[in-house]
Symmetry: C2
Subunit: 499 residues, 2 copies
């Protein structure tokens, strides 16, 4: 009887994964290759397949199978966790009436269009009414859960299981206390010349460096990973052994495509390196947004921006761009790619100031859901925060409140995971450096051994364990934001010769 | 009541098209970009989705809906044809027990692998036992239809509705009678120098000609069509306004990628130009294999190999390859790309000898199913036919009987449509030349007007009408093989200065 139910459960997981694979592939294709005129025809059919997936996910019979399995004291701890993970995810869907769900999806699509137009026009007032609608609709959706928890806590938990405002407050308080003064010192210090990074670097040559040197150095293997170009770089995990990453080349920025690729390859390894015994199971995915972001940022910032990384790779970059970089030393290059400078746009922010972009969004989101901030004139609130924390003011909403797509989508609670990812990464690197000589491995092209450490301590578990459990197993400690802030302080104190 | 049933029918057609779109896209992706290590994981999930499609197709309730609709005297002629087309297709599936179907699919997969290995080894004896199994399994599958018709007639009809051995015999008899002596004369005539086509033509430059000149000349528009590279060129129609074509560049052959692209774009237009009122309906597909092939061959041979086509395009090709083609006149170039010369491999055969490759396969298939030929030592039979009709003998089975994948797949009856396509095309061109000045349009870059004629008389109908009906509407005549043979005789008599 139990065996029958387990078989049914596994078949159901497989069934969902088939629809998800198809939808992922349709999505990647749409963003890379698909002819635009086919979009309405494809979208209608994708929506149908998404509906089929929804029906499979919310199948009441499978809810019953899960209930019976959970009531059985003899199932393995692993199976119990698989079931619980899905039960939680699907439970959130099941409580919402289908028509409310459909209305919400329609509102999301509409809000995306309006956001796009408002951004093009640089006019927040166009977006304000629909943002209000999205906030109200989100509140309505979450109210069905009837969990008794503060609404924003529920949102935070959706993207980062276990996280609450209480924990994030402690984290962002430390970020604020330590980074705001540090950034002030950096702004007042003697500035680093990074102008040579912004010369013309022909894209064809950038691609040559990418394909001939960078991807092989990273060990990103065409037999399981594929790179393409898109307007906004992303990583999509189609299924086991099939990872698609994209990048964007900028003619006047030699490091943009390189570091964004290192970043995406970090996501890619996390997707690829889950243990084979979890193939086809619920565990075959990253545990949370923050954990995923920790792996991409670890590669991008904690490896890809270091001197040892470039000791190996810079001579190759110079050989591709002798005119532009022939007279720039590797030390000058590495200093330039680490410049810290307050700016307006999150996706272009540097490692030092990035967490404050997130802090601002966190405080605004929290305010929107505890009633202390409203969508009314939210552009002004936004600008005031940027002024306060980063000392910069957007010339228009395009570079201000309208820069990110997330809120049009109702993705409240997502942003904080970006900063958390950097902080997780700092602690993982701290532990990794106890075990292996990271700098020596970077310097001698033994990148695979670094990935090996990550695989052994993080990637292979997929979502078998929680982020908190993985942090404790990998580092021997609970998550500690100061590990991250110590790293930033040390790095930028040295870089800018601060007292 | 009728309205309800019609609504149900349309929703069901939409549902099938969603699965078909996903499976097409997964297939194209697999052949172009997908990392190979993901294949087993993707394949398992694709097989699941194909199974879902099968369940939708064979839904007994929908068979009942179709039955009721067909019994209703008031439905439109269009809707009746839609239902009848699906009824026929699905009827063939419904009569076969599911386990037989599954076994057959497994045998196909196995036979493909064995064919591949046998081809690599150049050894027919490896493939012979599994070919026998495929033939027996095909016979078993067709026997369930219990139609009383000769088995090979049923197979022919599956790929080309309405075709029978009687009609094909008449066609191939004329092909044999007229082409065998014509080819003999060509072989004995003074040969044309085409050696300059086989110099090194750097692939990068070939792509430049493709993207800068050829695709724009053909009007192949990135907003609805996309080109990629594969080992074997193909066209896949993902859905309305979404056509994917592929090509293969050969360093030592300047016309291979060009003419194969013209060919595939012919398929592409047929897929794209079905009337918008048929969007999402059964009619939104080409009517048959032969009709599809007629459109690709029309573009490739009847337009792409003509002097007027190259009067416009050759100076551009010369500008890209001044060293290779600077001293070759357009007349010499066009003569060279039309050389007729018996050869071993169908996919590399020229316009003149191609139909004999098909004739050989037709005679063998017919013999296999009427009992006059067996799979035993079929390589010897194959070689004897090639000797007899083309005067050539394969050095091994790789270039002989194992060159094509079709039989491993059980696709008996497919080959004849390739020759039929060329013959259909000849008759369409004959009619088109009555209406418009094709040469002048080619010469002046007004390719869109030629496509316009094809769209008006052929493409827009999709499969609303049968191939026979379309032939009569477009040309005013029933299909006449001599139109094709007259064309070849006239063309090659002039080209080789034959008496």
């Amino acid at each position: 009887m139990k065996e029958e139910l387990l078989k049914e459960f596994d078949a159901w997981v497989m069934k969902m994964s088939a629809y998800r694979m198809a939808l992922s592939l349709i999505g990647v294709d749409k963003q890379t290759l698909a002819p635009k005129d086919g979009a309405p025809y494809r979208d209608e059919r994708s929506a149908f397949l998404a509906g089929e997936l929804f029906s499979v996910e919310t199948d009441p019979h499978m809810a019953e199978v899960r209930r019976e399995l959970l009531a059985d004291g003899t199932i393995s701890a692993e199976k119990r966790r698989e079931i619980e993970l899905l039960d939680k995810e699907i439970g959130h869907i099941l409580v919402v009436p289908k028509d409310v769900f459909v209305q919400y999806a329609q509102l999301q699509a509409h809000a995306y269009e309006v956001w796009h137009q408002a951004k093009d026009a640089g006019d927040y007032s166009l977006f304000e009414p629909v943002l209000k609608q999205v906030i109200e609709a989100s509140k309505k959706m979450y109210a069905y859960r009837n969990s008794g928890l503060p609404m924003y806590d529920q949102m935070l938990d959706d993207y980062e299981p276990g996280m609450t405002m209480e924990i994030y407050d402690r984290f962002f308080d430390r970020v604020r206390e330590r980074l705001v003064p540090l950034i002030r010192k950096v702004v007042e210090a003697e500035q680093i010349d990074d102008s040579f990074l912004k010369q013309p670097y022909p894209v064809g040559k950038q691609k040559e460096f990418m394909n001939r040197y960078l991807l092989p150095y990273l060990g990103f293997d065409a037999s399981w990973g594929y790179q393409n170009e898109t307007e906004h770089p992303f990583t999509d995990i189609i299924c086991e052994n099939d990872i698609r990453v994209t990048t964007k080349y900028l003619e006047n920025n030699v490091v943009s495509a390189i570091l964004s690729t290192v970043h995406e390859v970090g996501h890619g390894y996390y997707g690829h390196d889950v243990a084979p015994e979890y193939d086809g199971t619920v565990f075959n995915y990253g545990i949370s947004s923050g954990m995923h972001e920790s792996q991409s940022r670890l590669l991008e910032n904690y490896l890809g921006r270091t001197l040892p990384f470039w000791e190996e790779n810079y001579p190759k970059l110079q050989s591709v761009f002798p005119d532009q970089l022939g007279n720039v030393s590797v030390e000058e290059f590495v200093r330039a790619i680490n410049v810290g400078r307050p700016s307006l746009v999150r996706t272009e922010a540097d490692e030092l100031t990035y967490p404050l972009h997130i802090l601002i969004r966190y405080e605004i989101e929290k305010g929107l859901f505890n009633g202390t901030i409203t969508a009314e004139h939210l552009d002004e609130t936004w600008d005031a925060y940027y002024e306060k924390y980063l000392g910069v003011k957007a010339p228009d909403a395009r570079q201000g409140i309208l820069q990110d797509v997330h809120w049009s989508d109702g993705s409240f609670g997502y942003f904080p995971t970006y900063a958390l990812g950097s902080a997780f990464a700092a602690q993982f690197v701290w532990a990794m450096r106890r075990d292996i000589d990271v700098d020596e491995l970077l310097r001698t092209g033994r990148f695979a051994e670094i990935i090996g450490w990550l695989k052994e301590h993080i990637h292979r578990y997929g979502c078998r364990y929680s982020a908190d459990e993985i942090m404790r197993m990998a580092t021997g400690e609970p998550f500690d934001p100061d590990c991250y802030l110590d790293y930033l302080e040390e790095k930028y104190t040295a870089l800018y010769n601060l007292k």
